[in-house]
């Protein structure tokens, strides 16, 4: 039985046994359901093998929502533990595991797929393209992300979760202090997902640079496309750092190298530096597409074009450059001299300038607009003041001398939640509500939607504002409890209430999906929000080829031109359309990657070698494969268009 001992959980608890049972039951239910309803073929043909950017986008979004709930449960457990002093709900080890998985899941497996999901669904439509540049690669990206996320999530029930924080600093993350396989999961699961993300970056940069509709020059691209282009450029330059970093961490843990050790020349600060050279650009990878979504939503519902288009673009370019020059602000207190700290303080505060430019552009768009309050718009308007709180406290943290007071306290935790929740999560919810009709052919209920937005916004404030105060009073982050005498109790209780409010908000969101699926009208137009860009110019549901005729563009708001100024979007006749074929290889190869990762985590060398061979076999197969895609004939296009116009 020795062999199986390694898979046991080092610190098991009822919660973990309960989730084991839950996982088994859910899996059985899914398999049984698919078999009973005879859906295996459908699942394989329409989803697992698809290379269609719209379907891949939807799968990204569903995974992100799933992970939002996983990360949300972690969050509730943490806040419950801290709600009262000296609480015994969780012990220190569990608390460590939970804040680690919460951070990783939320940033890498919730926020990342959320933004990439929107890029997938929206960007090709917005630029009038038929798909992304490399549809097959896109499927590989998705499945690698998915398998990475799954691998990371099973750590909870097989072998133990990572417990060294989402930043996983060495020497804490080394073998000496993190004995379980948890940190191996961290290194390898993120590696697999990260490779997928890197390929997304390459794919979308190529797509946006090369596949825009005729007339759409760079300075006529819709703002979400601009933000995606810049984000993907950051991905291409930042993610290789993560690749190297994780490989080095893996080798330190499994092969006994000396990169980050404290003897034989090893240098633990190298991890911290590399981590944040990737990590700070990463937070801008999250926020820039969110800014893009806000720009789309705000100009749509202010019923006017975006104020300051050029300055919006330039501010994003500047942010993307600066984002690589500020990483030291994450460890001002960790030993570099005053000069280095001062330089990085200045670069950090400089980022607030282009960010401010964007805020003022949105405000001026609203100022001159005729505002219509819909759910997406409500999220956008709530975003502006809340995000400003996060941004201003960021500048406070950026002052290196003052940071000695705030660093590693709840103040920091409050800062990044006040940027990430209003910044990224609100944008994702706004985007979800906004694009829902295009994806699924009906609208989400507006009344429930607005109520949800208010609940989430107020709960965010209730949950995180108290932390600014306890943080200033000295409550440290990542501590599983505190004594009565500190007096942190009441404010932490308020935070817990806020966390429950957030949970209620997300439950309401799910209820809205259920309610609208049942009751919402399916009789909606292709452009239900009276929007301005090309994704709304095609039918709902969007045909596989997106546009029967390539659209013509002459400004950054082609659909608006067509509606108001008589611009002719679709000139010319139907022509045969070339489309890529579906393929099962991305799914199969990524599944082998899962086995590869699992074997690596547990140092099972023979399966690891076999899986490696399997991966190379898939790549070899791809090299020799002849796949020229297929053509959709003019007749087929005519029939599809006829049907969709009627519908």
């Amino acid at each position: 039985m020795d062999f199986f001992d390694r898979f046991a959980i080092p610190h098991a608890s009822p919660a973990i046994y309960a989730s084991m049972v839950a996982i088994v039951l859910t899996s059985v239910a899914i398999v049984a359901g698919l078999t009973y309803f005879k859906k295996w073929g459908y699942l394989w043909r329409e989803w697992l093998t698809t290379v269609d950017h719209k379907r891949i986008g939807i799968m990204y979004l569903l995974s992100a929502l799933l992970m939002l709930f996983r990360g949300g449960v972690d969050a509730i457990m943490m806040r419950a533990q801290l709600a009262a002093p000296e609480s015994k709900l969780l012990d220190a080890q569990h608390y460590n595991e939970i804040f680690t998985t919460h951070g990783v899941v939320m940033i890498l497996f919730m926020a990342m797929p959320f933004i990439i999901g929107f890029m997938n669904f929206v960007v090709p439509l917005q630029i009038g393209a038929r798909d992304v540049a490399f549809p097959r690669l896109n499927a590989i990206s998705f499945w690698l992300f998915f398998m990475g996320a799954m691998l990371f999530n099973i750590s909870f029930v097989v072998g133990g979760s990572p417990d060294a924080g989402w930043t996983s600093y060495f020497p804490l993350a080394g073998n000496e202090f993190s004995e379980s396989v948890g940190t191996n999961y961290y290194m390898i699961a993120i590696q697999i997902a990260g490779i997928g993300t890197l390929m997304t970056g390459i794919n979308f940069m190529t797509t946006i640079l090369k596949m825009r509709a005729p007339g759409m020059t760079l300075m006529k691209m819709p703002m979400f496309t601009w933000s995606s282009l810049i984000t993907n450029a950051i991905i291409v330059f930042a993610f290789p750092v993560l690749t190297v970093l994780l490989a080095m961490g893996t080798m330190d843990r499994l092969f006994g190298t000396q990169f980050f050790t404290t003897e034989n020349g090893g240098m633990d600060m190298l991890w911290a530096n590399f981590f944040w050279v990737w990590g700070h650009p990463e937070v801008y990878i999250l926020i820039l597409p969110a800014f893009g979504i806000y720009s789309q939503v705000i100009s749509t519902f202010a019923r006017r074009n975006l104020y300051g288009y050029k300055s919006m673009v330039w501010s994003m370019v500047i942010i993307s450059l600066l984002s690589f020059l500020v990483w030291v602000h994450h460890f001002f207190t960790m030993g570099q001299g005053a000069l280095a700290n001062s330089i990085f303080s200045i670069t950090t505060m400089a980022i607030a300038v282009p960010t401010g430019v964007k805020i003022f552009n949105w405000l001026l768009t609203l100022w001159k607009g005729k505002i219509v309050i819909t759910t997406p718009m409500l999220y956008s308007m709530l975003f502006i003041p809340l995000f400003t709180i996060g941004g201003v406290t960021g500048v406070m943290l950026g002052m290196s001398a003052a940071d000695y007071q705030y660093h590693n306290t709840m103040f920091l935790v409050a800062h990044f939640h006040m940027v990430i929740i209003p910044g990224v999560v609100f944008a994702m919810l706004a985007g979800l509500t906004f694009y829902w009709p295009k994806m699924f052919g009906f609208m989400l209920n507006e009344r429930i939607g607005k109520l949800t937005a208010w609940i989430i916004a107020i709960s965010t404030l209730v949950a995180f504002m108290p932390m600014f105060f306890t943080g200033l009073d000295g409550q440290a982050r990542r501590m599983y409890t505190y004594s009565e005498a500190t007096g942190f109790g009441p404010l932490n209780m308020i935070s817990f209430v806020g966390a429950l409010g957030l949970a209620a908000g997300f439950v309401l969101l799910v209820y809205n999906v259920y309610y609208s699926t049942r009751y919402a009208s399916r009789d909606i137009s292709a452009d239900p929000w009276d929007a301005r860009t090309l994704e709304w110019a095609t039918h709902t549901p969007v045909p596989s080829y997106n546009f029967a005729v390539e659209p013509q563009v002459s400004s950054e708001e082609p659909l608006w031109d067509a509606k108001k100024n008589g611009h002719e979007l679709f000139k010319g006749e139907y022509k045969e359309i070339h489309m890529p074929n579906n393929s099962g290889v991305p799914f199969i190869m990524s599944s082998i990657f899962f086995v590869w990762g699992f074997s690596f985590v547990f140092s099972l060398w023979i399966p690891l070698i076999l899986a490696t061979i399997g991966i190379f076999a898939c790549m070899t197969h791809r090299s020799f494969e002849k796949d020229h895609g297929h053509h959709i004939s003019v007749k087929e296009i005519e029939e599809t268009e006829e049907k969709l116009r009627g519908a």
Partner: protein
């Protein structure tokens, strides 16, 4: 598939042009990957712990042979692409084969080098310096190994399918990759070996 005959074969279709741009972007990512390794190397180069220093283990002869082999292979693959543009399939395949043989020679010498390092007490676990050195060299070597098989597959395909827009595109992209590995080697040669021996 629309073929534009005014352009070289490897650029002649829309799909081919996308692939070439995509590959350049991929090379951008590869530059960052090696830049990170170099940054790590510069940080750890003098942190030798109880292990040997660079000056103690580096030998000029094998390194010069490696350099010569890899630079020569970069030249021959250039000739191969030139032959491809002229439509001379046989010459192209010969040059590609020579390239791969030179690559194999490079790998042989590099492996020999690694064995010597380990014998001299510079294994991957010895010190931060040796960990970083062998990882950097190893990453480059792994790229050459992957390149070897990739190149082999391309030779087989060109032999069987002839010079089509598709195979020409693959060959051209492969040549970009191979040149890139050469450029990385030049950095390794100058900043790891030359600097380390001085």
């Amino acid at each position: 598939m629309k073929i534009d005959h005014s352009l070289p074969l490897e650029y002649s279709t829309e799909e081919n042009r996308l692939k070439i741009l995509g590959f350049w972007i991929f090379l951008g990512a590869e530059i960052m990957l090696f830049a990170t390794l170099f940054a790590g190397y510069f940080t750890l180069a003098n942190r030798t712990g109880n292990g040997p220093t660079g000056a103690e283990i580096f030998e000029i002869t094998p390194v010069l042979i490696e350099t010569f082999l890899l630079l020569a292979s970069s030249f021959t693959i250039g000739l191969g692409i030139h032959a491809m543009r002229l439509g001379n399939k046989k010459a192209m395949l010969t040059f590609f084969a020579v390239t791969l043989i030179l690559g194999l020679g490079f790998l042989g010498v590099e492996i020999y080098d690694f064995v010597v390092y380990v014998h001299e007490g510079a294994a991957i676990q010895t010190s931060a310096f040796t960990s970083m050195l062998l990882t950097t060299l190893g990453t480059h070597g792994a790229h050459v190994t992957v390149g070897f098989f990739w190149g082999l597959f391309i030779i087989l395909q060109v032999r069987k399918r002839g010079l089509t827009p598709e195979t020409a595109n693959k060959s051209f992209i492969f040549s970009l990759y191979w040149h890139f590995l050469d450029v990385v080697w030049i950095f390794i040669f100058s900043f790891i070996y030359m600097k380390g021996m001085m």
